[in-house]
Assembly symmetry: C2
Homo-oligomer: 193 residues x 2
DNA sequence: AAGGATCTTGAACGTTCGTTCCATACTCGG
DNA sequence: CCGAGTATGGAACGAACGTTCAAGATCCTT
């Protein structure tokens, strides 16, 4: 009968996710992954398959934690309008508090791999689409309770908020200045006021 | 005395720019560049230096043509407000007409290299900063001739437009759907109406 | 206690990477 | 018309790439 793995699979995948997040797909070598995941080459291939397969698993995990779970958590504790604003504010807070320039793995991947990899493209598209739905759903819910004006078009505005949010993530990685980021969050709020 | 080069340096650099634009820095090999530039390895190194140096030259060239010259051309033929809208519309037109998913080399680079390369980061920051200045300048000019309401804050709005524009470029590369892109341009217009 | 199944380990694979170098082709001033 | 000097073409470099594999270590079942 099998011998249990000596490492935590989820934990190792989390380390891989961080590496891809920080350096991108191409710039992260298998040696980098072996080092940062703390497991052996053989174990890595036996558990996660090849590099691309590992990346896809890391990307799905990122989407689950940093998009799905995050949106769900914010929905639980805030009103519709405050949930929208909160998404922007939280993203900014991470940049300012941690000082990291990792941005968002999904956005990074949208540029690096989406144009050339169909499976990856589908994951990114689905995630972006869900973000859009999150925004439009919140707008409609906010309008239902009178928190957001009826003059706001849920479809058009949710797409603009998605674009604004993606822009924020790009700038957070390339030009992480507080005033700049805050202006963007402020304008997002103005769109639904 | 020297023997003149048998290839056009500007033309070759243009080909390199296209390659980096389409596939990114890491995913473009020197062999790819030798093939697409149509010149020999030796000539390539003698003329442009190493890979990173070639990339920086290609990036500067991209910035000159697709940001500086483009903004200048649009400023010449349109009113301030129409210049802002035109930037968004032109970007969309390129996606829809050519069907390419290259996005914008500066935005692609902001994610792939900016966090890890200071010189590249400075080029990208300068370019983004100039875009911001373009927007705020147009807003003020539009306000001066009564084309844009005085209630619009030039500083805040120009930053939001920059973020919106960057988001558009990301989506153009990962999810090039006409309705989505048009909504973003429409909301950009609404910001200055 | 022994056998078998799985995980671990690290060396090794062939390929591709970015880069260098040299013999050859060529132009132009003397 | 010849020699100085640059561009060209392609072979070759060592390093790093992603991937595979065989041998040893470990635990569970019988």
């Amino acid at each position: 009968m099998p011998w249990e793995k000596q490492f935590n699979v989820d934990e190792a995948l989390g380390k891989a996710m961080e590496a891809f997040w920080a350096h991108g797909y191409e710039a992260t070598s298998m040696q980098d992954l072996v080092d940062c995941m703390g497991i052996n080459r053989g174990s890595l291939y036996a558990t996660f398959g090849d590099k691309r397969s590992l990346f896809v698993q890391a990307l799905r995990r990122y989407d689950a934690i940093h998009r799905h779970d995050w949106a769900a958590a914010i929905s639980r504790s805030r009103s519709p309008r405050q949930a929208i604003v909160g998404i922007f504010e939280d993203a900014i807070a991470v940049v300012l508090n941690t000082g990291t320039r990792k941005g968002c793995l999904l956005v990074n991947t949208a540029l690096e791999l989406s144009p050339h990899d169909d499976e990856v493209s589908r994951i990114v598209e689905h995630s972006f689409s869900e973000m859009e739905t999150f925004f439009s759903g919140k707008i409609e819910a906010g309008q239902a309770i009178g928190e957001i004006p009826d003059t706001v078009d849920p479809t058009e505005t949710s797409r603009a908020l998605l674009s604004l949010f993606i822009g924020l993530r790009v700038l957070a990685r390339s030009r992480p200045e507080e005033a700049l980021l805050r202006s963007i969050a402020h304008q997002a709020d103005a769109m639904i006021a």
